[in-house]
Every structure is written in C-alpha cells, then in structure tokens.
C-alpha cells in the first residue's frame, strides 16, 4: 500500500540527476534522514512487524496433543500447513469462527453507520452554535476520554436488568445476557464513545468551507437540504472518508468493550479479536494466530479498498506538498 501512496509530484518532475552545486548537501540530508528515521522503524519492526510475521508463521503450526505410538506425551509444536485455516470451514471451530466473523462485521457496519450519521449531526450543530462552543467542545471530548474498559463497565451498569436503561424504557430486557439485546447494547456503547470523534473531524472540515459559498447558494435559491447535499457533503467528504476508515479499522479490532460489557465466551458478542484471545489463553497459539492473521487480512483489504476506491487520503496534512521548493531551500 505504501508504494501506492508515494505519488510525490516532485519525484518525477525533478530535473535529471546531473551533479549540481547542492548535490553534496542533499546527500548529507538524505543520510541524516535515514539516521533520524531508523529508531522509529527499528521499534516498529520489533513491536509490530516481528509479532505479525511470527504470528503468520505460528499459524502454520499446532500444539501437539495426545500420545505417540509408544505412549509418550508429544510435546512442542508440529507443522500443520494450512490446517488451522482449513478447520475454519467445518465443524465446531468453523462455527465459532464464522459467528465471530459475522459479529465483527455486524458491529462494524452498524456502529460506523450510526456514528457517521450522529457525528455529522453533532458537527452541524456545533458549527451552528453561536454561544457555548467551548462548553460543547469540552463535553464532546468527555466520551472520548473515558477509557473504553470503563465505558464498558458503565454501560454494563446502565444495562443491568434492574438498571437505569430498563427503568427509563419501562422494559425488562436482559441486555447483558447472551442475546440480540446484548449486540444492541454494544452498538449503543460504541456509538456513544466514538461519534464525538467523527463529529470533531467533520467540524474541522466544515470550518474550512468559506461562508460566501453558502451565501451564493442562498442567492441562487438553494434550500437548506440542497446546501447540505450539494455543498457541505462534497466538501467534507475527504475528511469524512478518512474518519470512517479509521473508525472501521478500530471497530474491526474491537475487544475491550464486549469483553467488559457482556463478557468472554458469549456467542452473541464474541468478536474475532476475542476469539483469538480465548484460543491464545488456551495455549492454542496456532489457531489463535490464524484468527488474528485473518482479521489482519480483513482489515488490510478494507483499508486498501478505502484508499484505492474511495480515495481516502490517509497521509493528508502530513504529505509533503512542495518537495521541489524545500529541496532548494535545504540545498541552498
């Protein structure tokens, strides 16, 4: 993916690499860049790169179980190829996997759709608000600052059988038992915690739109809905697409919220992360890493789709805009 993103206009436009007065300085600057970048890459390679690669390797092995023909306990691991993956398509393990896969997908789709709708709503209101902006901004940050595990506990408390949710609704729903209601509880808690984030990103996008665009539209007789659909939405779309991508990636790896709100080993809310975690807890590292690898691929596919198809500009503001000009400055 990284290479796709590398479309710096300067790369191709730069004149032929003939020796020039600044060449020496450029070389030094390049070496310095390498030197300064290496700690980050070293750390990322060790704490992210290595685990992911060793996870992929691990997923091709199984913990040996049982006795050999002489009655000795088999210890250690043995190579099983793609068996851990093949097992996902049949039997009990397959059932657990597809259940977790569909839960993960369900949470991601429903939560992100709701978050986006509510987030855009929040942003529009915040943008309109004339007074109390600081108060709103502060309160919008509160759900973001509450630790996910704590918000899981809070919502578990709210959703107790004799808790406040049922009191307000006048119902007796078992939200935190294993059932469809618990899926809903997770979505509610997730949406509460994260739609403010989308709201803030969209608000930043809204604030970039010059006012006269709307005035011109008003003069031309555009209704409020038309203004929203034809001006606001297209102009905040880049910010929104990136926000939605990040929310999706984050929801796909969801762990703490269902874990704390409902609990481990509950079919109705078990996500891929939780399933992998359970298997690792049972020391079946091969199976666990197979699940983790699939989740990893799932996320990669979605990120790739967003960048390629929807043109999500994940580099955004950090992209180097005028490499040509800065190059001259450094060389000078």
């Amino acid at each position: 993916m990284a290479t796709i993103l590398d479309k710096s206009p300067g790369g191709a436009a730069r004149p032929a690499r003939a020796p020039r007065p600044g060449g020496q300085a450029r070389n030094t600057s390049r070496r310095l860049a390498l030197l300064l970048l290496s700690p980050t890459f070293l750390v990322l390679a060790l704490v992210v790169g290595y685990p992911v690669l060793s996870g992929i390797r691990e997923s091709l092995f199984a913990q040996a179980e049982g006795l050999d023909e002489n009655g000795f306990v088999i210890e250690g691991e043995r190579f099983v190829g793609l068996d851990n993956y093949a097992a996902l398509f049949s039997g009990e393990r397959g059932e657990a996997f597809w259940n977790a896969f569909s839960n993960t997908t369900f949470f991601t789709v429903t939560a992100v759709v709701l978050e986006t709708a509510i987030g855009v709503g929040l942003a529009l209101i915040m943008h309109q608000a004339l007074r109390g902006r600081a108060l709103i901004r502060a309160s919008v940050l509160v759900p973001w600052a509450v630790p996910t595990a704590m918000s899981g506990l809070l919502w578990r408390w709210i959703f107790q059988p004799d808790g406040v949710a049922n009191t307000l609704l006048g119902q007796e729903i078992l939200w935190t038992a294993d059932g469809i209601a618990s899926k809903l509880a997770i979505v509610v808690a997730e949406v509460w915690k994260t739609s403010p984030f989308i709201g803030l990103l969209v608000l930043a996008g809204l604030q970039m739109i010059p006012k006269d665009v709307y005035e011109a539209a008003k003069v031309d007789g555009a209704s409020a809905w038309q203004q929203f659909r034809l001006i606001t939405l297209p102009l905040v779309r880049p910010a929104l697409v990136v926000a939605v991508l990040f929310r999706m990636l984050d929801t796909l790896r969801m762990f703490d919220l269902p874990f704390v709100l409902v609990g481990a080993n509950k079919d109705s809310v078990e996500t891929l992360s939780m399933l992998a975690w359970m298997e690792a807890g049972n020391l079946r590292y091969g199976v666990a890493t197979a699940y983790a690898t699939i989740l990893f691929l799932y996320i990669a596919v979605i990120a790739y789709t967003f960048v390629k198809v929807l043109g999500a500009d994940v580099i955004g503001e950090a992209r180097s805009r005028k490499p040509e000009q800065t190059g001259k400055e450094v060389a000078a």
């Binding site: 450029r26 700690p39 608000a129 502060a138 309160s139 406040v164 990040f246 703490d256 992998a276 990669a300």
Partner: protein, 272 residues
C-alpha cells in the same frame, strides 16, 4: 422564535448525549451501597462509602494507579523521544520516498492489536517477561509511536523554519538550530501529542490485561474490571463506578484544560 430556539435545542441534545452516561457514572459512585439500584437523578444521601471501598486494602488500588501512571508515563516519554526525531525528519528534510515512509507508519497504526498480542504473549512467556512493566510498555509503543509521529509531523510542518535557517546562517549547526530554535517553538505541539499519547496509553486494556496476571502488576483499568464483590458473584457496580470516576476524572480535567489543543491534535492526526 423557532429559529432562535432550534440551535439551543441542538446544543442541549449534544450535552445530554455526551454527558448523561458519564453523569450516571458519577451519581452511582456517590450513592450508598444500599441505595445502589436507586434510579433517582442524584444520590440521596451522598455517600463516599463506594470510594472508601475502592481504596480498601484488598483491592490494592493505589498500587494499580501507580502502575498505570508508570506504564502510561514510560510509554509517553519513550514515544516522544523516538517520535520527535522522526517527525522532524518528515516535516523538514527533503528526501525521496518520504510519502512512502509516512504510508508505512500510517499502515502500522492500522494493525489490529490482537495480531501483535498473541505472538508477543508467547514470546514474553518464553523470555519470562510476563508480569513485568516492559511487557506492557514495549507493545504499547506499537500504537503510540505512529500516533505521535503523525501528530508531531503535522505540528512541525507549521513551524517557521526560516528562523532555523537564519540561525544556521548566523553560525549555528543544524543540531544547535534544532535545539535552540525549533524545540522551544515546537513545545506546544509536543505537549499536545504527549497528552494524547498519555490518554491512549492510560486507557489501554488488551495488552495490560494479557501480559499481566499478578495483582501487584495490574494497571488501574484492568484492576477495576476485575474487582469482585463480597460474595464473588454479584458485581460490585458501586465500587467499580467509584473507581472508574477516579481513573476518568483526571483525564476529563486534562481534556477540559487543554480542549483546544487536543481537538487540534486529534483533527490534525486523524488517528482514532
């Protein structure tokens, strides 16, 4: 009339949406344990019994808070030490493949935590790192570093680098110019990034939960989730809400004080 009232209604809606659940956490924390299931809008009477229960000796909650502080603090310091140089390079130096570097750093932040945790859990078991601080700090760098590099790069890009060049013309070396001109100017951005990274590290759950099983080494979020009631069967929600208030209120205060900066940091970074 309607036009005037509508924005206020919207604001009220936002406040209720964002604050009501948090308010409920605080209210529940200050009820007497015997009133725990009251659904009145405020505690009557107010009581600190739950708070006292949080700090009861058996919970070792002070130790857990100290662990959280240590893990989140160490993660923040390490992340900034490494990230500042990388971000400076990305914002300032000209070299080929810069966007590719940004792309790779961005991509690592997209990795699911679980594909990091499972192999590391196995590795740390083998090298006896389970129940150590480094087992929590090192994996946390995986999510903290991309976030920090990202925020810092965007911040650094806005700095007036002409000043740095002026200093270099006046005879400063690049290192000196960086130390004497850029660092003081960049301090606000570094500070904002530090707050955001600290909050993310303080809120971290899956790593701390997986890498530690001894009570003395637990971070606060994990400790609270594991609180057990007297009987061991009913969940002590009052105590848990009080403990949640204890770990959340400092963050909320941070957020209130630095809201402008944090919003700028979050929207610039676009991460999480």
């Amino acid at each position: 009339m309607r036009r005037k009232a509508l924005p206020y209604l919207g604001v009220a809606l936002i406040l209720v949406f964002c604050l009501a659940p948090f308010y409920w956490m605080v209210v529940s924390a200050f009820r007497r344990p015997s009133d725990q299931f009251d659904s009145g809008p405020w505690p009557s009477p107010w009581s600190t019994e739950n708070l006292e229960a949080v700090f009861a000796p058996g919970n070792e909650f002070v130790r857990a808070l100290a662990n959280s502080l240590l893990v989140a603090g160490a993660t923040t310091v390490l992340t900034l030490l490494i990230g500042v140089f990388t971000a400076y390079t990305l914002a300032r130096l000209d070299f080929r493949g810069k966007n590719a570097v940004l792309g790779v750093i961005m991509a690592t932040s997209m990795f699911p935590g679980i594909s990091q945790v499972v192999p590391l859990l196995k590795l740390f078991t083998e090298i006896d790192w389970i129940n150590t601080y480094q087992a929590m700090v090192v994996p946390s760098l995986g999510f903290a570093l991309p976030l920090a590099v990202w925020n810092l790069t965007v911040f650094f890009r806005q700095l007036p680098f002409e000043l740095e060049q002026a200093a270099m013309i006046d005879g400063c070396s690049r290192g000196q110019a960086f130390r004497k001109i850029i660092i003081p100017l960049a301090a606000p951005g570094v500070f904002t990034t530090a707050i955001i990274v600290f909050i993310m590290a303080w809120n971290e759950f899956i790593i701390a939960f997986s890498m530690v099983n001894e009570k003395e080494m637990q971070t606060a979020t994990v400790a609270i989730a594991k609180f057990t009631g007297v009987s061991g069967f009913d969940q002590p929600f009052g105590t848990q809400m009080a403990a949640a208030v204890v770990v959340t209120v400092p963050l909320v205060v941070l957020v209130l004080v630095f809201q402008r900066r944090i919003v700028a940091g979050l929207t610039a970074g676009g991460v999480k």
